[in-house]
Amino acid sequence: MDRRENRHRWGWLGLVVGILLCLESGTAYAIFLDPEETLRFNGRVYNRTAMAVQNSSDNTRLQTPYNDWNMLQNRTFIQAELRHDLTDLIAGRATGFLSPVQAFFAPLRALKIDSLDYFVTYRGEYDGVWDYGPDVFSERYPLLTDCGVPTKAKHKRPFSFEGCSRSDPRGRLRHRHRLFEAYVNYTSGPLFLRIGRQNLSWGETDVFRLLDQINPLDASFGGFLVSLDERRVPLDMVRLVYGFGGVGPLSELNLEGFMVIDDKIAAPVPTGSPWSTPNPLGFPGLIKKPSKNFADARGGGRIIGIWGEFMFSLVHYVTYIDTPMLRIVTPTKNPINLGEFTTAVNTGDTSRFLVDHFQAHALYPKIQISGGTLTFSVPRISGIVRSEFAYFYAEPFFHNSAPDQILGPALSGEITPGYQQVGTDPVSGQPILRYRSKVTRSDVIRWSLGLDVTRYIKLLNPHQSFLLSSQIFGRHIMDFNDTSLASVAPQFGFGQFAAPISDPNRNNASFVTIDEHQFIHTLLVSTAYRSGAILPQLVFLYDWQGSWLVQPGVTFVRDPFRLTLQYNYLDGQYNGIGFLRDRDNVIIQLEMVI
């Protein structure tokens, strides 16, 4: 660790300690910065440590293996929010310390403003696992391409040497400072407008998202074990809402629309991160992001209505989903020579040849989603029924094939599926080939049905009620390709829809196939003891493909602190959440709130 990094680390610690000392009060009240209560500040800071409780599996962490009781995360998180109501300033009736400047806001009165405010959020994150965690994380991650004898200089400045590049998860994930959200709200009568960097969430489900696909998620610091709010990536967006009030039998009808001009997507977690998905294909990657223009804009609308006990919404929008469409290609300007390919395979230089000539493109598909929600209460059981339906149009799917399918021409001497001859080498006479792995699209139906119930279970807790929240999720791929691998492998063809992850149960000789129909159950049980000072919670998640998560946890509350202990037990088949079955961990989090 160099001196600069050391200074940085101590700077963080100093900041955290400073905040702790400044806020030693035992209460947690909102802080208004002016007597008129137009400027409001909130903040929270936490430190979370995640420790592995099992060794990483050989097949999933080839390059960054760790052992049980190795640190996976030591994350310090600071969030500061500021909300400022400008309505009185614009109306010329402000009396606070900003009143001298209210004349400058007078022209805005022409907008017939009912209210105008702005909101900004700062988020700072630092993960110490990259500095003082296990060696596999705290040391430089291996170079990916051959640039000769490794030297210190190459490690430090790989890009200044020809052919050198490095996956640098440490540089990307160690710390981050962000103006997380920044937007302005404008209300005039039934019209509401929000412009700026923001999050927008539609739908009714918890844990898994159906219609809630507008903002990408950042899985780089804990994956789905971290709350949705913390993982959302805000987008530059215009959001418009128009309220029609009561219409006919509806007590309320609202129309909402949004448009996003932003290039952010759910960037894959870099290989080397403790939270990355199992080992990727091993090709140099290229992430193709949307551009910040109207052609690549996301947008859509929804109608929300309330009819008696029922709350419903109808939704349609265009977005970039979080799961990238993975395509293995030879770069357009760099097709391969079959003769060289065959020679490389015969001499045992296959890996070198593949890395040098093939690329894995992560393309974020822009797709349309339609759907709706319906929620109603069942007072007799003190329950709420939540339902959601989403239709994904033309979602891309990766095809299964033996991982050596890409070697087809070199092994058989023929042009196998996926390859195309684009020329002939004038010197050797060998075919010049271009490769493009197969991706097809299919419509997908996703649905969810949930029930939330509050109940007293006197035997377990005589003083407080329990919240029981259960959901079932379904996914159905409409034009499912279930071509068996056995029928295509000899011809180096493409088989069933799959996740682009090698299947250890088949000696990594194929990718993990996915099911046409998938069902997942979730159950959350929570209550409180000692008048809310002790908050136990149990989350259970079962994927009917044969994997599960059991997540018991307890939070101790004493303002302004929260201490959370949580155990994440993942196991089952190597599919869905089972891809992370070797990531069992225990979490200790100390949080301070204002």
């Binding site: 009240y29 006990e309 006197k458 009620s465 809310g532 949080e591 204002i594």
Partner: protein, 419 residues
């Protein structure tokens, strides 16, 4: 039964004033008694035994106050948990408009199935007759339809306090309420809410702590008590606005008071059998002349601003079906303004479990330039003697009867106020 009640209601409204003498009271006498109940201190403030303004009641002389303090309070004064300073009774007359509405509309109002029939505005039952088997139920309706203004915007905070006075958790929030029906001036009712049968709506936004900041709840109370309240919530953790279940028997703060314990009693009337116990002069927390009350006694659980002698109606509510925590509730309701003074709840073994003390704000204390005083809750102390835990709730700022659009009480407003 419902048919009989409806017939009675029709007869009452047809016969109007002429029916009343047949039950033993002339209309003039009823009107006089109604007015007298609004001005119970017109003939002078109550005097009870040795209780005098300026005296302190503590463990040494608690027995002297046995006639004016319920045993549920007396016990803890005698044990030295807290003491009371006595002040002169405060006359807290309600707005003339509310009194006029009462006198104009109270005749013909009858109790139906989970609702009142022919109720327009004001206090529905300004005169309670101890011999009337429905007197307790009518007192409960008076409590529900007490004068609470047309709307109110409040800033409030609450804390969970242990027996050594340690504040374990605090919350700070803004709260708004609006009444769409039965306003003192019926012309000011909100026609859309009337059409939908919506009596009132409440909006709450959590301001602190920051892990709950931005959480909002919209509650809708229907005029018919038998129609379940509707609730929606905006959760900043999920950024969603969602319908949530309204269950008066749970404690959202996970503390020592249920939703129905708020403001003395905020539950469904039809869930209880109501029994009128008596009319009594009691010592109760007097109105405060400050933004915040004074907390003291054991655990800082008690409201220790001066108490005063007030005339009260005492009713008992027994759950009709199994209640998760309580076997019964005893409510002391201020005769003059129908605001609860305190209430007590008992567990299923009949033991006193919780005490709720309430205090109003004095009309003379109004730094917010409000117009038209009504008995507004300034603070509530909730004490669970079995858990040895208290909850302090106080409204630190209130603006009422201001221009406030009904659109602030919509699901859309939750979405827009969300992050």
């Amino acid at each position: 039964m419902a048919i009989l009640l409806r017939i009675s209601a029709v007869l009452l409204s047809c016969l109007g004033l002429w029916l009343l003498p047949s039950v033993g009271q002339s209309q003039e006498a009823v009107q006089e008694q109604a007015v007298a109940n609004f001005f119970p201190y017109r003939e002078g403030f109550p005097k009870m035994g040795d209780i005098r303004p300026g005296m302190t009641i503590d463990s040494t002389n608690a027995s002297n106050a046995s006639s004016v303090l319920p045993p549920e309070i007396l016990k803890y004064i005698a044990a030295g948990d807290f003491s009371i300073t006595v002040q002169e009774t405060t006359d807290l007359p309600l707005r003339p408009a509310f009194i006029e509405a009462t006198l104009k509309h109270h005749t013909g109002v009858v109790v139906g199935e989970g609702e009142l029939q022919h109720y327009v505005a004001g206090r529905p039952f300004p005169v309670l007759n101890a011999d009337d088997p429905q007197a307790g139920l009518k007192a409960a309706w008076n409590l529900r339809y007490r004068d609470q203004g047309d709307n109110a915007q409040m800033r409030a905070k609450s804390g969970i306090v242990n027996s050594s006075g340690g504040v374990e958790r605090t919350q700070s929030f803004s709260f708004m309420s609006m009444y769409g029906m039965h306003r003192s001036d019926p012309d000011k009712n909100i026609s859309e809410w009337e059409r939908q049968g919506v009596y009132s709506k409440q909006y709450t936004m959590m301001l602190a702590p920051s892990d709950m900041e931005g959480f909002q709840i919209l509650s809708v109370t229907h005029d018919k008590d038998v129609i379940p309240n509707a609730q929606w919530a905006y959760d900043p953790q999920t950024r969603r606005t969602r319908k949530i279940v309204y269950n008066p028997y749970i404690s959202p703060e996970r503390g020592v008071l249920l939703i129905e314990d708020r403001a003395g009693f905020l539950g469904y009337i039809h869930d209880y059998d109501w029994k009128y116990l008596r009319k009594q002069t009691v010592l109760a927390p007097g109105p405060i002349r400050a933004a915040e009350p004074t907390w003291g006694g054991k655990g800082n659980w008690y409201l220790i601003d001066p108490w005063e002698l007030r005339r009260a109606v005492v009713v008992e509510a027994t759950p009709k079906t199994s209640h998760p925590l309580y076997s019964r509730r005893v409510l002391y309701i201020d005769l003059q303004n129908s605001m609860p003074l305190y209430s007590f709840v008992y567990d299923h073994d009949g033991n006193h479990k919780r005490t709720f003390l309430l205090v109003a704000r004095h009309p003379d204390f109004d730094p917010w330039d409000n117009k038209g005083w009504f008995a507004q809750l300034a603070a509530q102390a909730s004490i669970d003697y079995q858990l040895e835990m208290g909850n302090t709730f106080e409204i630190t700022k209130i603006l009422f009867n201001r221009a406030l659009p009904a659109s602030r009480f919509t699901v859309m407003a939750l979405m827009l106020q969300g992050k």
